[in-house]
Protein backbone atom coordinates (compact mmCIF):
# COMPACT_ATOMS: atom_id res chain seq x y z
CA UNK A 1 0.00 0.00 0.00
CA UNK A 2 2.81 2.38 0.75
CA UNK A 3 5.98 2.82 -1.22
CA UNK A 4 8.94 5.00 -0.59
CA UNK A 5 8.21 7.82 -2.99
CA UNK A 6 4.73 8.35 -1.61
CA UNK A 7 5.83 9.46 1.83
CA UNK A 8 5.04 13.11 1.18
CA UNK A 9 3.19 15.18 3.76
CA UNK A 10 0.07 15.33 1.59
CA UNK A 11 0.16 11.55 1.25
CA UNK A 12 0.34 11.18 5.02
CA UNK A 13 -2.66 13.52 5.27
CA UNK A 14 -4.56 11.27 2.89
CA UNK A 15 -3.71 8.15 4.91
CA UNK A 16 -4.66 9.80 8.22
CA UNK A 17 -7.91 11.04 6.72
CA UNK A 18 -8.78 7.59 5.42
CA UNK A 19 -7.77 5.69 8.55
CA UNK A 20 -9.67 8.12 10.80
CA UNK A 21 -12.70 7.57 8.56
CA UNK A 22 -12.41 3.81 8.93
CA UNK A 23 -12.08 4.19 12.70
CA UNK A 24 -15.21 6.35 12.89
CA UNK A 25 -17.19 3.89 10.75
CA UNK A 26 -16.26 1.05 13.11
CA UNK A 27 -17.44 3.08 16.10
CA UNK A 28 -20.69 4.33 14.55
CA UNK A 29 -22.84 1.17 15.05
CA UNK A 30 -21.84 0.98 18.74
CA UNK A 31 -22.67 4.65 19.22
CA UNK A 32 -26.11 4.15 17.72
CA UNK A 33 -26.68 0.98 19.78
CA UNK A 34 -25.90 2.85 23.00
CA UNK A 35 -28.34 5.61 22.08
CA UNK A 36 -30.90 2.90 21.28
CA UNK A 37 -30.62 1.66 24.88
CA UNK A 38 -32.90 4.55 25.70
CA UNK A 39 -35.73 2.41 24.37
CA UNK A 40 -35.16 0.05 27.30
CA UNK A 41 -35.46 2.85 29.80
CA UNK A 42 -33.33 5.43 31.49
CA UNK A 43 -31.73 2.84 33.75
CA UNK A 44 -30.29 0.87 30.81
CA UNK A 45 -28.63 4.02 29.50
CA UNK A 46 -27.30 4.91 32.95
CA UNK A 47 -25.90 1.39 33.35
CA UNK A 48 -24.06 1.75 30.06
CA UNK A 49 -22.72 5.17 31.06
CA UNK A 50 -21.47 3.68 34.32
CA UNK A 51 -19.89 0.79 32.43
CA UNK A 52 -18.01 3.16 30.09
CA UNK A 53 -16.52 4.97 33.08
CA UNK A 54 -13.28 2.97 33.05
CA UNK A 55 -9.80 3.92 31.87
CA UNK A 56 -9.61 1.68 28.79
CA UNK A 57 -12.92 2.96 27.40
CA UNK A 58 -12.00 6.56 28.20
CA UNK A 59 -8.79 5.98 26.26
CA UNK A 60 -10.89 4.74 23.36
CA UNK A 61 -13.11 7.82 23.58
CA UNK A 62 -10.01 10.03 23.68
CA UNK A 63 -8.80 8.41 20.46
CA UNK A 64 -12.26 8.85 18.95
CA UNK A 65 -12.30 12.58 19.73
CA UNK A 66 -8.93 12.90 17.98
CA UNK A 67 -10.06 10.84 14.98
CA UNK A 68 -13.29 12.85 14.75
CA UNK A 69 -11.49 16.23 14.81
CA UNK A 70 -8.80 15.01 12.46
CA UNK A 71 -11.31 13.67 9.94
CA UNK A 72 -13.20 16.96 10.09
CA UNK A 73 -10.16 19.19 9.58
CA UNK A 74 -8.48 17.04 6.93
CA UNK A 75 -11.85 16.83 5.19
CA UNK A 76 -12.17 20.61 5.14
CA UNK A 77 -8.69 20.69 3.60
CA UNK A 78 -9.84 18.39 0.79
CA UNK A 79 -12.87 20.62 0.17
CA UNK A 80 -10.60 23.67 0.03
CA UNK A 81 -8.20 21.96 -2.40
CA UNK A 82 -11.02 20.83 -4.65
CA UNK A 83 -13.42 23.76 -4.52
CA UNK A 84 -11.45 26.90 -3.69
CA UNK A 85 -9.12 28.81 -6.02
CA UNK A 86 -5.49 27.71 -5.96
CA UNK A 87 -2.82 30.12 -4.75
CA UNK A 88 -0.13 30.91 -7.30
CA UNK A 89 3.01 30.03 -5.43
CA UNK A 90 6.38 29.93 -7.17
CA UNK A 91 7.00 26.22 -6.50
CA UNK A 92 3.44 25.34 -7.50
CA UNK A 93 2.95 23.33 -4.29
CA UNK A 94 0.84 25.91 -2.42
CA UNK A 95 -2.40 24.28 -3.47
CA UNK A 96 -1.73 21.23 -1.31
CA UNK A 97 -2.14 23.34 1.85
CA UNK A 98 0.58 21.57 3.80
CA UNK A 99 0.24 24.07 6.66
CA UNK A 100 -3.35 23.00 7.14
CA UNK A 101 -2.21 19.42 7.82
CA UNK A 102 0.01 20.46 10.73
CA UNK A 103 -2.73 22.74 12.06
CA UNK A 104 -5.21 19.85 11.86
CA UNK A 105 -2.89 17.58 13.83
CA UNK A 106 -2.29 20.27 16.43
CA UNK A 107 -5.95 21.17 16.88
CA UNK A 108 -6.99 17.49 17.07
CA UNK A 109 -4.44 16.87 19.82
CA UNK A 110 -5.56 19.97 21.72
CA UNK A 111 -9.23 18.89 21.52
CA UNK A 112 -8.20 15.43 22.69
CA UNK A 113 -6.40 17.00 25.62
CA UNK A 114 -9.44 19.15 26.51
CA UNK A 115 -11.55 15.99 26.45
CA UNK A 116 -9.23 13.95 28.64
CA UNK A 117 -8.79 16.88 31.00
CA UNK A 118 -12.55 17.10 31.38
CA UNK A 119 -12.80 13.37 32.07
CA UNK A 120 -10.11 13.36 34.73
CA UNK A 121 -11.40 16.51 36.45
Amino acid sequence: MMTRHRLTISYMAFVLHRLSGIGLICFLPFHFLVLGLGLEGEAALDNMLAYTDQPLIKLGEYILVILFSLHLLLGIRVLIIEWMPWPDRADGQGGLRAGWIFAALGIALILGWIFIDGVIA
Partner: protein, 237 residues
Protein backbone atom coordinates in the same frame (compact mmCIF):
# COMPACT_ATOMS: atom_id res chain seq x y z
CA UNK B 1 38.48 6.77 -7.82
CA UNK B 2 35.14 6.88 -6.04
CA UNK B 3 32.57 4.47 -7.41
CA UNK B 4 28.81 4.25 -7.47
CA UNK B 5 26.93 1.04 -6.77
CA UNK B 6 24.13 0.82 -9.31
CA UNK B 7 21.30 -1.71 -8.98
CA UNK B 8 19.41 -2.16 -12.23
CA UNK B 9 16.22 -4.17 -12.62
CA UNK B 10 16.71 -7.10 -15.04
CA UNK B 11 13.76 -9.09 -16.33
CA UNK B 12 10.09 -8.30 -16.80
CA UNK B 13 7.36 -8.68 -14.13
CA UNK B 14 9.59 -11.25 -12.50
CA UNK B 15 13.28 -10.61 -12.35
CA UNK B 16 15.97 -9.35 -10.04
CA UNK B 17 18.43 -6.54 -9.58
CA UNK B 18 21.86 -6.74 -11.18
CA UNK B 19 24.59 -4.79 -9.45
CA UNK B 20 27.15 -2.68 -11.31
CA UNK B 21 30.02 -0.54 -10.25
CA UNK B 22 30.49 2.74 -12.09
CA UNK B 23 33.12 5.46 -11.57
CA UNK B 24 31.69 8.58 -9.93
CA UNK B 25 32.18 11.72 -12.00
CA UNK B 26 31.71 15.42 -11.33
CA UNK B 27 28.95 15.77 -13.84
CA UNK B 28 26.80 12.72 -14.31
CA UNK B 29 23.12 12.03 -14.80
CA UNK B 30 21.29 8.77 -14.15
CA UNK B 31 20.92 8.35 -17.89
CA UNK B 32 24.70 8.77 -18.29
CA UNK B 33 25.21 6.00 -15.77
CA UNK B 34 22.77 3.60 -17.48
CA UNK B 35 24.36 4.36 -20.86
CA UNK B 36 27.85 3.80 -19.49
CA UNK B 37 26.83 0.42 -18.08
CA UNK B 38 25.09 -0.56 -21.31
CA UNK B 39 28.06 0.42 -23.47
CA UNK B 40 30.92 -0.82 -21.31
CA UNK B 41 29.61 -3.55 -19.03
CA UNK B 42 26.44 -5.25 -20.25
CA UNK B 43 25.10 -4.63 -23.74
CA UNK B 44 21.95 -6.66 -23.11
CA UNK B 45 20.35 -4.00 -20.84
CA UNK B 46 17.25 -2.45 -22.41
CA UNK B 47 16.17 1.11 -21.69
CA UNK B 48 14.54 3.99 -23.54
CA UNK B 49 15.87 7.41 -24.31
CA UNK B 50 16.01 9.81 -27.23
CA UNK B 51 16.85 13.47 -26.68
CA UNK B 52 18.93 13.25 -23.46
CA UNK B 53 17.95 16.82 -22.50
CA UNK B 54 14.43 16.68 -21.07
CA UNK B 55 12.45 17.37 -24.21
CA UNK B 56 11.15 14.01 -25.39
CA UNK B 57 9.94 12.38 -22.16
CA UNK B 58 11.03 8.84 -23.03
CA UNK B 59 13.70 8.13 -20.40
CA UNK B 60 11.52 8.20 -17.27
CA UNK B 61 12.49 5.53 -14.72
CA UNK B 62 12.03 4.82 -11.03
CA UNK B 63 15.26 6.08 -9.46
CA UNK B 64 15.76 5.39 -5.76
CA UNK B 65 12.03 4.83 -5.41
CA UNK B 66 10.85 7.96 -7.18
CA UNK B 67 9.69 8.31 -10.78
CA UNK B 68 11.91 10.81 -12.60
CA UNK B 69 13.50 11.71 -15.91
CA UNK B 70 16.82 9.88 -15.84
CA UNK B 71 18.33 12.51 -18.16
CA UNK B 72 17.56 15.39 -15.81
CA UNK B 73 18.41 13.65 -12.57
CA UNK B 74 21.96 14.39 -11.52
CA UNK B 75 23.66 11.71 -9.50
CA UNK B 76 24.81 14.39 -7.06
CA UNK B 77 21.16 15.33 -6.37
CA UNK B 78 20.43 11.80 -5.15
CA UNK B 79 22.91 12.21 -2.28
CA UNK B 80 23.66 8.52 -2.23
CA UNK B 81 26.38 6.32 -3.64
CA UNK B 82 23.91 3.45 -4.03
CA UNK B 83 21.47 3.95 -6.87
CA UNK B 84 18.51 1.72 -7.57
CA UNK B 85 16.98 1.97 -11.02
CA UNK B 86 13.67 0.29 -11.89
CA UNK B 87 11.11 0.71 -14.65
CA UNK B 88 8.20 3.11 -14.08
CA UNK B 89 5.47 1.80 -11.78
CA UNK B 90 1.83 1.25 -12.77
CA UNK B 91 2.78 -0.04 -16.21
CA UNK B 92 3.47 -3.62 -17.38
CA UNK B 93 7.18 -4.34 -17.56
CA UNK B 94 8.50 -5.55 -20.93
CA UNK B 95 12.20 -5.93 -20.31
CA UNK B 96 14.62 -4.38 -17.83
CA UNK B 97 13.83 -0.64 -17.70
CA UNK B 98 11.34 -0.69 -20.58
CA UNK B 99 7.61 -0.59 -19.81
CA UNK B 100 4.55 -1.09 -21.97
CA UNK B 101 2.93 2.36 -22.09
CA UNK B 102 -0.07 1.26 -24.19
CA UNK B 103 -2.53 1.48 -21.29
CA UNK B 104 -1.24 4.93 -20.40
CA UNK B 105 -1.75 6.22 -23.93
CA UNK B 106 -5.12 4.46 -24.34
CA UNK B 107 -6.41 6.23 -21.24
CA UNK B 108 -5.21 9.50 -22.72
CA UNK B 109 -7.79 8.92 -25.44
CA UNK B 110 -10.48 7.60 -23.09
CA UNK B 111 -10.42 10.90 -21.19
CA UNK B 112 -11.98 12.56 -24.24
CA UNK B 113 -8.73 14.07 -25.42
CA UNK B 114 -9.52 14.54 -29.08
CA UNK B 115 -9.52 18.11 -30.28
CA UNK B 116 -12.52 18.96 -32.41
CA UNK B 117 -13.05 22.09 -34.42
CA UNK B 118 -15.66 23.45 -36.79
CA UNK B 119 -13.04 25.55 -38.56
CA UNK B 120 -11.10 24.65 -41.69
CA UNK B 121 -7.66 25.72 -42.89
CA UNK B 122 -9.40 28.43 -44.90
CA UNK B 123 -10.62 30.13 -41.74
CA UNK B 124 -8.52 32.73 -39.99
CA UNK B 125 -6.76 31.56 -36.80
CA UNK B 126 -8.92 31.92 -33.70
CA UNK B 127 -8.35 35.08 -31.67
CA UNK B 128 -7.88 33.97 -28.06
CA UNK B 129 -7.44 36.60 -25.36
CA UNK B 130 -4.20 35.57 -23.62
CA UNK B 131 -5.26 37.20 -20.36
CA UNK B 132 -8.63 35.46 -20.11
CA UNK B 133 -9.30 33.09 -17.22
CA UNK B 134 -10.04 30.22 -19.59
CA UNK B 135 -6.88 30.72 -21.60
CA UNK B 136 -4.80 30.67 -18.42
CA UNK B 137 -6.51 27.47 -17.26
CA UNK B 138 -5.80 25.89 -20.64
CA UNK B 139 -2.08 26.25 -19.90
CA UNK B 140 -2.28 23.24 -17.58
CA UNK B 141 -1.19 20.59 -20.06
CA UNK B 142 0.51 22.61 -22.79
CA UNK B 143 4.00 21.71 -21.58
CA UNK B 144 3.12 18.05 -20.86
CA UNK B 145 5.18 15.62 -22.95
CA UNK B 146 3.50 12.35 -21.88
CA UNK B 147 6.49 11.00 -19.98
CA UNK B 148 4.26 9.03 -17.59
CA UNK B 149 6.00 10.19 -14.38
CA UNK B 150 2.76 11.44 -12.79
CA UNK B 151 0.95 8.26 -13.81
CA UNK B 152 3.67 6.18 -12.15
CA UNK B 153 3.53 8.34 -9.01
CA UNK B 154 -0.24 8.09 -8.58
CA UNK B 155 -1.59 5.77 -5.88
CA UNK B 156 -5.11 5.71 -7.26
CA UNK B 157 -3.75 4.43 -10.59
CA UNK B 158 -2.04 1.59 -8.75
CA UNK B 159 -5.23 0.74 -6.80
CA UNK B 160 -7.87 1.15 -9.49
CA UNK B 161 -7.23 -0.18 -13.00
CA UNK B 162 -10.06 1.90 -14.38
CA UNK B 163 -8.67 5.25 -13.25
CA UNK B 164 -7.55 7.37 -16.20
CA UNK B 165 -4.75 9.00 -14.24
CA UNK B 166 -3.34 12.50 -13.81
CA UNK B 167 -1.80 13.06 -17.27
CA UNK B 168 -4.95 12.22 -19.23
CA UNK B 169 -7.22 14.26 -16.94
CA UNK B 170 -4.79 17.19 -16.92
CA UNK B 171 -4.99 17.21 -20.69
CA UNK B 172 -8.81 17.00 -20.55
CA UNK B 173 -8.81 20.10 -18.32
CA UNK B 174 -6.79 21.99 -20.93
CA UNK B 175 -9.19 20.89 -23.61
CA UNK B 176 -12.40 21.88 -21.80
CA UNK B 177 -10.83 25.31 -21.36
CA UNK B 178 -9.76 25.59 -24.99
CA UNK B 179 -12.31 27.91 -26.52
CA UNK B 180 -11.57 26.58 -30.02
CA UNK B 181 -12.55 23.04 -28.95
CA UNK B 182 -16.12 22.29 -30.04
CA UNK B 183 -16.38 18.93 -28.25
CA UNK B 184 -16.18 20.35 -24.71
CA UNK B 185 -19.25 18.53 -23.46
CA UNK B 186 -17.95 15.18 -24.79
CA UNK B 187 -14.57 15.76 -23.16
CA UNK B 188 -16.18 16.66 -19.84
CA UNK B 189 -18.48 13.63 -19.93
CA UNK B 190 -15.50 11.36 -20.60
CA UNK B 191 -13.41 13.03 -17.90
CA UNK B 192 -16.15 12.56 -15.29
CA UNK B 193 -16.97 8.97 -16.25
CA UNK B 194 -16.38 5.82 -14.21
CA UNK B 195 -12.58 6.09 -14.33
CA UNK B 196 -12.62 9.89 -14.31
CA UNK B 197 -11.80 12.84 -12.10
CA UNK B 198 -13.98 11.83 -9.14
CA UNK B 199 -11.59 8.95 -8.33
CA UNK B 200 -8.81 11.39 -7.43
CA UNK B 201 -8.15 11.89 -3.70
CA UNK B 202 -6.00 15.00 -4.12
CA UNK B 203 -2.93 13.32 -2.66
CA UNK B 204 -0.77 15.50 -4.88
CA UNK B 205 1.76 12.78 -5.75
CA UNK B 206 1.47 13.70 -9.43
CA UNK B 207 2.24 17.38 -8.95
CA UNK B 208 5.06 16.63 -6.55
CA UNK B 209 6.63 14.22 -9.04
CA UNK B 210 6.11 16.18 -12.27
CA UNK B 211 9.60 17.05 -13.61
CA UNK B 212 8.39 20.37 -15.01
CA UNK B 213 6.13 21.38 -12.13
CA UNK B 214 2.74 20.92 -13.74
CA UNK B 215 -0.18 20.35 -11.39
CA UNK B 216 -2.63 17.68 -12.51
CA UNK B 217 -4.10 17.83 -8.98
CA UNK B 218 -5.20 21.38 -9.65
CA UNK B 219 -6.60 20.48 -13.07
CA UNK B 220 -8.52 17.51 -11.69
CA UNK B 221 -9.92 19.75 -8.96
CA UNK B 222 -11.09 22.04 -11.77
CA UNK B 223 -12.77 19.11 -13.52
CA UNK B 224 -14.46 18.08 -10.25
CA UNK B 225 -15.81 21.58 -9.78
CA UNK B 226 -16.99 21.62 -13.38
CA UNK B 227 -18.69 18.24 -12.96
CA UNK B 228 -20.44 19.57 -9.85
CA UNK B 229 -21.83 22.57 -11.71
CA UNK B 230 -22.71 20.52 -14.75
CA UNK B 231 -24.66 17.89 -12.79
CA UNK B 232 -26.34 20.40 -10.48
CA UNK B 233 -27.33 22.47 -13.50
CA UNK B 234 -28.84 19.47 -15.20
CA UNK B 235 -30.91 18.51 -12.19
CA UNK B 236 -32.43 21.99 -12.14
CA UNK B 237 -33.30 21.88 -15.83
Amino acid sequence: METLTVQIWRGAETGSFASFSVPKRDNQTVLDVVTEIQQRQDQSISYRFACRVGVCGSCAMTVNGKPRWSCRTHISSLKSSVITIEPLKNMPRIKDLVTDMTGFFDKWGQAGNVFESDKTRQDAPAKVDPSSQQRKAANAAIECINCGVCYAACDVVSWNDEYLGPAALNRAWSLVNDERHTGKQDTLVAAMGAGGCSNCHSQGNCMTACPIGLSPTRSIAGLKKMSLFSLMGKQDG
